[in-house]
């Protein structure tokens, strides 16, 4: 649309222990014009992938084996304080949101995820925190 500023294409790391969620998220992210550079199925794998790919944004599930999403978020923030991590989870508990934000999450999306919500969230967090990266 004329006058509308086109957002640059982001490199995104998708973290979720569910294979089908990774596939669905990847499709949504690609459909809205961004790239999925890697995915991870546990918190430990997410930290490794973050170091390798240095993505612009991470979408992070909370309930995962080995290491949960909040712990992985904490470890990523310790290594890179400018990391932009959006929690994408089914947990509607307020305390879970508070815990995530305290550790450094920049956004929080509730599953089941809708493409429009994801698009708005990516745009908002990158607009707000992207310059620090």
């Amino acid at each position: 649309m004329e006058g509308e500023k086109k957002m640059k294409s982001m490199n995104i790391l998708v973290v979720d222990d569910s294979l089908i969620t990774i596939k669905k998220m990847t499709k949504m992210i690609e459909d809205i014009g961004h790239n999925v550079v890697a995915n991870a199925r546990s918190g430990i794998e997410a930290i490794k992938q973050y170091e390798i790919f240095k993505p612009d944004i991470v979408t992070m599930d909370i309930t995962m084996p080995e290491m949960n999403g909040i712990e992985a978020l904490k470890r990523i923030m310790e290594k890179d304080s400018s990391a932009i991590v959006i929690m994408v989870t089914s947990h509607g508990q307020e305390q879970m949101v508070i815990n995530s934000v305290e550790v450094g999450a920049k956004g929080y999306l509730l599953k089941p995820l809708k493409e429009e919500q994801l698009k708005n969230c990516i745009e908002k967090v990158y607009e707000k925190y992207g310059e620090a990266k």
């Binding site: 569910s18 089914s90 508990q93």
Partner: protein, 195 residues
């Protein structure tokens, strides 16, 4: 639903709170089926404590909800229903033929995780987090007998694409009284140390 927060402990202690939980799960399951995979719920039947056996269907996803005590939740699907849920849920994504079964199981895991994650907002207590385990999948029809102190709640959901049953398994009142005794002892020790 009342504003008073539910607690996992009260679900086990009182039938009323147990009923609120299963009604919330049934409601969220039906709305998930309708909104995410366009499947209509035709009928929902509740059973409290009259069951001695879990009769598992073709595919079952199980999660454990952990607060002071643990609740086990199982979503058990007829073949036709879970295959139709998968078909709609995976619309637009490419899945190799030899991987379909894995993704059908993943769909069952995603569904219980989303429904229970959403339902747990009813259990909010300030400063407390209730944990949910990753889903476990059981293949094949099996029956599991009831452990003597546990209580089973069940919800039979009939849809225009097949049947499913949801089981909620609580550890029973003995565990609660054990927890309460433990807490009382702690309080008494605390009071004693202050005096």
């Amino acid at each position: 639903m009342e504003n008073k927060p539910l607690t996992v402990e009260n679900v086990i202690k009182t039938e009323a709170d147990g009923k609120k939980l299963i009604e919330a799960i049934a409601h969220r399951t039906s709305s998930f089926l309708m909104e995410e995979v366009s499947i209509n719920t035709l009928q929902t039947n509740y059973e409290i404590d009259k069951i001695n056996k879990l009769e598992l269907k073709y595919l079952t996803s199980i999660i454990v909800v952990e607060d002071d005590v643990k609740l086990t939740l199982a979503f058990s699907f007829e073949k036709k229903l879970i295959e139709n849920i998968f078909k709609e849920y995976s619309k637009g994504i490419e899945i190799d033929d030899d991987e379909v079964q894995i993704y059908v199981e993943e769909t069952a895991g995603d569904m219980i995780n989303i429904v229970m994650g959403n339902v747990l907002s009813y259990f909010q207590q300030f400063g407390k987090t209730i944990l949910i385990s990753s889903p476990i999948i059981i293949n094949g029809a099996k029956s599991i007998s009831r452990y003597k102190d546990s209580r089973f709640y069940s919800i039979d959901i009939s849809t225009d694409n097949g049947e499913m049953v949801i089981y909620c398994i609580t550890p029973g009142e003995k565990i609660i009284s054990h927890l309460e005794n433990g807490r009382r002892e702690k309080d008494e020790k605390y009071e004693h140390s202050r005096s």
